[in-house]
Every structure is written in structure tokens, then in C-alpha cells.
């Protein structure tokens, strides 16, 4: 029994040392495959510009520092059809009526590309340290979140809902349905 265990341990050690590259490849493969099949219907895209600025004045430090970025990002909204199934559709062939129940629109993607972010202004007093790389990224992250959180106020969901309705009505009217009901719930 001990010999078997020893052999197993040795074999594992030898194999693991021999296949280090393949382990890394496997890890890389797994990381790359975090995504997968999806079914998201994007119906509206907003292009949003935002000034992201910080005036960092702290009471216990002499002097101040300021930074200002301009950014241009895109936000897409629509419906996630991954859970859409036969139960989501009710067809009344006698009345030639179809009712479709869809999920509420949501943000499908937000993109603030680095090339669309420009540092327009930065000022640091003599007694203060400049904004570090991590701090600059933190400022931009806050800007990104501020835009995403304001999605509802911007009215993107309302537009997405309207466009989904228009798209489905166009498709279904060509299928000779006289009455088309689109519900979001």
C-alpha cells in the first residue's frame, strides 16, 4: 500500500513538473473561456460625454491638487433573451393574436475606452504629491460608475423598451399577426 502511494506521489510530482506549460495553457484556456453563449438583444446605444474631476483639498495637508479628465463612453441597453422560452409566448390562432412576455431592459454593455479618456488638466501644489497611477484609475472608475448609475435618469431603458417593441412588432407583423402584445415583466 505504501509503495503504491509512493509511486502515485512520485508520478504526480514528475507529471506536474513535466506539464508545467500545459497547466499554464489550461489555466489560460479556462480564463479565456469565462464567457460563453448569450442571447442579448441590444436596441439602443447612448454616447455619453462626461467631465471627471477631482479637487483634492485635505484640511491636514498644505496645498491642493486637482485633476480633470474628459471622457466619451458608449452604453448599450436591451433585453436578455437567454431565459426566453415557449412559456414566454401566448398565441391565439383564432384571433390571430400573439402576446410576448419579455424581461425588463437592462444595460448590456458599457464601454469607456482608454483612447477616449483624456487628461485635460492636472495641478499639484509644491507640498503635495502628484496623483498616482492607481489614484488616476480610481478617479476614472468613479466616473464610470457615476455614468452607469445614472442610466435610469438618462432614459436609456425607456428607449430600449420602445425599440424592442418596434423590432418585435415588425417581425411579427410580417408573420401575419394582427394583434401583437409586448409585455415587460
Amino acid at each position: 500500500m505504501k509503495k503504491i502511494l509512493l509511486f502515485f506521489c512520485l508520478a504526480t510530482a514528475v507529471l506536474s513538473s513535466c506539464t508545467k506549460n500545459s497547466v499554464e495553457q489550461e489555466l489560460e484556456r479556462r480564463v479565456r473561456n469565462m464567457g460563453g453563449a448569450s442571447a442579448q438583444l441590444g436596441t439602443v446605444e447612448y454616447t455619453i460625454s462626461k467631465i471627471i474631476k477631482v479637487d483634492h483639498d485635505v484640511f491636514y495637508k498644505i496645498g491642493e491638487r486637482k485633476i480633470l479628465f474628459s471622457s466619451l463612453s458608449t452604453m448599450k441597453a436591451g433585453v436578455d433573451l437567454s431565459k426566453f422560452c415557449a412559456d414566454s409566448v401566448v398565441i391565439d390562432k383564432k384571433k390571430n393574436e400573439i402576446t410576448i412576455n419579455l424581461p425588463h431592459p437592462q444595460i448590456l454593455s458599457f464601454n469607456m475606452p482608454a483612447e477616449n479618456i483624456k487628461m485635460e488638466y492636472s495641478k499639484t501644489s509644491a507640498l503635495r504629491s502628484e496623483f498616482s497611477v492607481a489614484e488616476r484609475n480610481e478617479v476614472l472608475t468613479q466616473g464610470e460608475k457615476a455614468i452607469v448609475n445614472a442610466a435610469e435618469e438618462l432614459g436609456i431603458f425607456k428607449d430600449a423598451e420602445e425599440n424592442v417593441r418596434t423590432l418585435f412588432e415588425a417581425m411579427l407583423s410580417s408573420a401575419n399577426y394582427e394583434k401583437i402584445n409586448i409585455n415587460f415583466n
Binding site: 480564463v31 479565456r32 442571447a39 447612448y46 455619453i48 448599450k76 458599457f110 482608454a114 466616473g143 464610470e144
Partner: protein, 313 residues
């Protein structure tokens, strides 16, 4: 051992004291109440000698009895004394223990109090320092100003995303910079200029979204005949290559990296992500999954037969 000696002494004292009394008592009894047997013995021999012998015999018996009694008394006394001694020892022991413990308590108490006091002060100081640190951290926290989100453009789209490719990437870069001349640089002249090596590592998570642009379906691409639908889907395409600021973890050993340098690295990272997505067959996968999704979608709309024709990539 001491107990034993004490017991013996007691016995001796009892013997020396009690025995004459017993004898006297017996003599007195014999003198006051002569018995008929004695009178006969007196008549048979020399009455005086016999009387003396008899008296001596009785005195001996009385002495023996007295000795026995004295022994019992002595033993009892010794037993009592022993018990008393043990009890006394116990009490003394307890007293000693309590004395020692009280001594220890009196010795430890001030130290314990001091330790307690020190701990309380240290705790209070620590708490105060932590509170100040937290306050300073809060005060030092970066907070962006509330600025408006300006909608520049609203575009109607019909993008059916059928595959999402996600990858975590590590980007490393190094740059070597000449050191700035210090105030005392004139003191040493070096042929090789001083330089600093600055490294940056960015761990980022990128997303690539691919699928069909349904807006590209032309009128002739969709044919309906009774319960049969035929649709020609456009070629799959990549809609977005996304790396946002929140997707980045940046590690640097110096903050000499400008915003432009970081941007260049991120653009490079994005290009690599796109290339990896292509190499991983993101468009083919989007096509494969997309066909199935579109078929199912149209079938739920009441079409029994759905023919999906893909233009391919």
C-alpha cells in the same frame, strides 16, 4: 513522636495522682464496713497480719483498677489531644495557606492593576489612533465632483449578441529613465549616467461581444410561407471590445507613468484581446450559438419550420 511522649507523660501523671486516692478510699471502706469472711480469717490466723495482707491485696487490686482507668483516661486524653493537635495543624495549615495566598494576592494585585491600567490606556490610545487614521483616510479619499452626463448621441440598434468572450490579461512594461541631477551631483562625476528602472503591471479583464446585426437583414432575407420561415442572417461581427477603468488592477513601483503611457498600454492590451478573441474563434462560436438561438426564437413565435441560412464570415 511528640504526641506519643505527651501521651506517656499524661499516663504517668494520671497514675501518680489517682492511685493513692483509690487506695485511701478502699482502706476507708474496709475500715468502716468489716465483712463476716474477714472476721473468720482473723479468728483462724493472726488477725492483725491477715487483715494487713488482705488490705494490701485489695489495695493492689484497687491500684490495678486505678491504673487501668488511668490508662483509659490517658488514652482518651491523648486521643483527644491528638485530634486537637491534628485539628490545630489543619487550622494552622489553612491559616498558612490563606496567609500565603493573601500575601500573593497583595503582591500580584498591584501588578495586575498596573497591567489592567496599561492595557486600558493602550486600548484607548489604539482606538484613538485607529479613529484618527480612519478619519484621515476618509478625509484623504478621492471623490469626484458631481458633473453632468451629457448624451451626445442616441442610436437605434438591433444587435443580437450570441457569444461573449472574456479574458483576463496581464500587461507588463518597463522603462528606464535618467535620474535627475541632485544638489550634490557635482561631487561625483560618473561616466555612466544614473538611471531608474520603473515597472508597471496591469491586470485587466476584457470582454468581446459578438453576434448578428439584425439591422442588416434586408427585406428579401426574410421569407414567410404559412408556418415556414426562412431567414438569411448576416455574417457575425464583433460589436464591442471592452476594457473599462474598473477592469484594471494597476501595480507600479514608481508613479512616473503618465496618463498617455498608461493609455498606450491599455490600447495595446485591447488589441491583444481582440486578436485573442479572433484566434479563439469568437465569430464562429457566435455563428454556431446564434443559429440555434434564432431558430428557437422564431419557433416560439409560432413557426413550425424555421430555416436559418448563414452568410458566414
Amino acid at each position: 513522636m511528640e504526641n506519643k511522649n505527651i501521651q506517656e507523660q499524661e499516663n504517668q501523671e494520671v497514675q501518680s495522682v489517682d492511685t493513692p486516692q483509690e487506695v485511701q478510699d478502699t482502706q476507708a471502706t474496709q475500715e468502716t464496713q468489716p465483712t463476716p469472711a474477714n472476721q473468720e480469717a482473723q479468728q483462724a490466723t493472726d488477725p492483725k497480719e491477715e487483715q494487713k495482707a488482705e488490705l494490701a491485696k485489695k489495695a493492689g487490686e484497687a491500684g490495678l483498677a486505678a491504673l487501668k482507668g488511668a490508662g483509659k483516661v490517658g488514652a482518651a486524653a491523648a486521643k483527644g489531644l491528638g485530634k486537637a493537635t491534628v485539628a490545630t495543624a489543619k487550622v494552622a495549615g489553612k491559616a498558612g495557606v490563606s496567609a500565603v495566598s493573601s500575601g500573593l494576592v497583595s503582591a500580584i494585585l498591584p501588578i495586575a492593576l498596573k497591567v489592567l491600567l496599561f492595557t486600558a490606556i493602550a486600548g484607548a490610545l489604539g482606538g484613538a489612533v485607529a479613529a484618527v487614521a480612519k478619519f484621515v483616510k476618509e478625509a484623504n479619499k478621492l471623490e469626484i465632483a458631481d458633473t453632468p452626463n451629457v448624451v451626445e448621441e442616441i442610436k437605434k440598434i438591433s444587435e443580437l449578441t450570441t457569444y461573449t468572450y472574456i479574458e483576463e490579461m496581464v500587461v507588463k512594461d518597463t522603462k528606464v529613465e535618467a535620474k535627475e541631477a541632485g544638489m550634490l551631483s557635482f561631487l561625483h562625476k560618473s561616466e555612466v549616467p544614473d538611471s531608474t528602472r520603473s515597472e508597471i503591471v496591469i491586470i485587466t479583464r476584457g470582454v468581446v461581444r459578438a453576434g448578428y446585426d439584425l439591422a442588416k437583414i434586408k427585406d428579401g432575407d426574410l421569407k414567410i410561407s404559412n408556418d415556414t420561415l426562412s431567414v438569411v442572417l448576416p455574417a457575425t461581427e464583433i460589436f464591442d471590445v471592452i476594457i473599462n477603468p474598473s477592469d484594471n488592477d494597476i501595480f507600479v513601483n514608481s508613479d512616473k507613468w503618465s496618463h498617455e503611457e498608461i493609455t498606450a498600454l491599455q490600447v495595446d492590451c485591447k488589441n491583444r484581446l481582440l486578436q485573442n478573441a479572433h484566434d479563439n474563434g469568437v465569430l464562429e462560436k457566435a455563428d454556431k450559438h446564434g443559429k440555434e438561438k434564432v431558430e428557437n426564437l422564431f419557433k416560439t413565435f409560432g413557426f413550425n419550420v424555421v430555416n436559418v441560412i448563414q452568410k458566414g464570415n
